[in-house]
Amino acid sequence: MRPKRILADLKVVVRSYTRNPVALFFSLLFPIILIGLFGLIFSAVGNSPVAVQVINLDHGSPGSVAFLAALNETSVVKVNVVNWNATNFGTLLGQNDDPVGLIIPAGFNASLANHRPTNVTIFIDPADASSSGTVVGAVQGVASAFNLHLANGTAVVGYTTQTVGSKVYSYIDYLIPGLIGFSILTSPMFSMVDVAAGYRKDGIFRELSLTPLTRSEWLTSHILWYTVLTFITAGIMIGAGEFLFGATVEVTLGLIPFLLVGPLLFVSLGMLAGSVAKTPESAALIGNIITFPMMFLSGTFFQVSMFPPALQSFARILPLYYVIDGMNQVMLFNNSARALSDFLVVLGIALVIFALAVRFFKWRDE
């Protein structure tokens, strides 16, 4: 590896890229358009029932089950009974990004039977006024109905509220790490697949093979360029997100490992896909087969936690999932342990793919 040759090649890569208006549009402008578009579409959607995580400390008693069933029947909330620890429920809700939760106290059923006052606890996020309002309203309504029917109007069932432990983020906040991940994936994948197959067809690799430039030097200069591009795009998206679309995300040094390992992974993967294909057409096909599921199912536009369980399991085999999840941990949840484990997963995959790309990418034929 000679830095001088990598630099010479990098210069050509940068010139080729920056002189291509289509490439520039898709890597720099397109993500901003996406932020605006998705932000607009999804902030307008508010008609689906609000999911409420519920801890039932009165374990399956008839009264508690009836109460939850009644809540579900309002159709403005959807009850989801979980087995979490009640003592730090607020924190857990925050970490799982659930703005609302409910605890049914132990002895709820007995209180109903004996007309003794009992309070359910609602956890709300003041920042998410619409979800909180919906849940409080639903609990109020169901509680009044219970009081009316079971206790002739005596206030038996009441509620107290608590706030959810940590800040709850809005869609636009998720969109930023998601779209940084989107461009980490798409910019190198689409163009490297094309380059790998096209340069081979045009004989450009053949020409380069007649120079002292080595395959790893060539690959390195491309990884360097896409890393630079990733930093620029991430900067643009964070800037546009914060100033144009009102996002609030943490920008820390913890983001850097992901911005480094992402391009390493996807430049190599694009090169690998382009190298194993026989023609530019099949290269594009292989590239799309790899890229499209990741583009939508790794938490780019939609959080993976919103997916049905089967799709969530599928998302976890996609390398981009770990890039985006890691950035979510850094930019939103401040969970460095999980960010580190995400990073190690991506790094492992990236090194394997890089090695495979170097192995399968050939300058010359036997």
């Binding site: 001088k4 040759r5 010139r15 080729s16 450009i204 020409e207 120079t211 002292p212 010359r364 034929d365």
Partner: protein, 310 residues
Amino acid sequence: MASAIEVDHLVKRYGELAAVNDIEFQVAPGTVFSFLGPNGAGKTTTTEILEGLRRATSGTVRVLDLDPWTDAYELHLKIGVIPQDFRFFEKITPREAIEYYAGLFGTHPDPADLLRRVQLSDKANSRFDTLSGGQKQKLGLALALTNDPKVCFLDEPTTGLDPTARRGIWEVIRSLKAEGRTVFLTTHYLEEAELLADQVAIIHHGRIIAAGTPGEIIDQFGRPERLSFRAPPALAEYLRAKVDLPVSVADGRVVVEMREKKDAVRVIAAVDASGLPWETFSTVQDTLEDVFIRLVGQMDDGLLKSEATA
């Protein structure tokens, strides 16, 4: 080092097909060697093996005393190659391309100088995708020279160029030789080989069917020298009766094939004695192209016959 290029019992097989079938030749340092053959004859395969881009199935190949496949890195520092139909990064200009190659090779050529040499100075700052076919080929030639190569491989360097540009490239090839470089030239233009090459080899169906200087090949495989008269066909009748040489009529010309030089005197005397009108006369000799077409044609006919009886 006796030879710049040495090829001995070279074979390259693709499955059952022998693209190159046991060939041998040598190229002396500082000479121009032209490798000729119809499409699919094994020219490009051989050239690519010499350049270290393909691996030989068997046989020995040495270029500048290096094994092109195993010592490719070292070899590539010392050779220059322009492939057929040279392609490059679309958005890069010739000047940038030369700087790029100089950076890769660690050499310091003057881009303006190299571009002038291949007559591309006026396009120094135009992007590659705006260049014509000939201009692209010239850039390929300039790039092949950025590392001051000892051996230059030129694969059909003038294909698609206009006559002036072709002559320009010929000048460059002559100057390469004058600078003591060895040139390995493949071409479709037999005239080009005849003009430029010290040695020629003709390959067909993976075998070398003729080798030597252009003159030697013509002497060995060409038809005898002929006298050609612009004259009415009646002259042919007359000559057939008077001289015992083969006479033919073609395109308004009467052509007499000579066995030896002094036959010319007899023929001209007979023409004069005939009293028939004639306008001009010339001597006609086979060119390398005539020989090439006949050799390749004969071989294909022979092959077709043997295939038909098999």
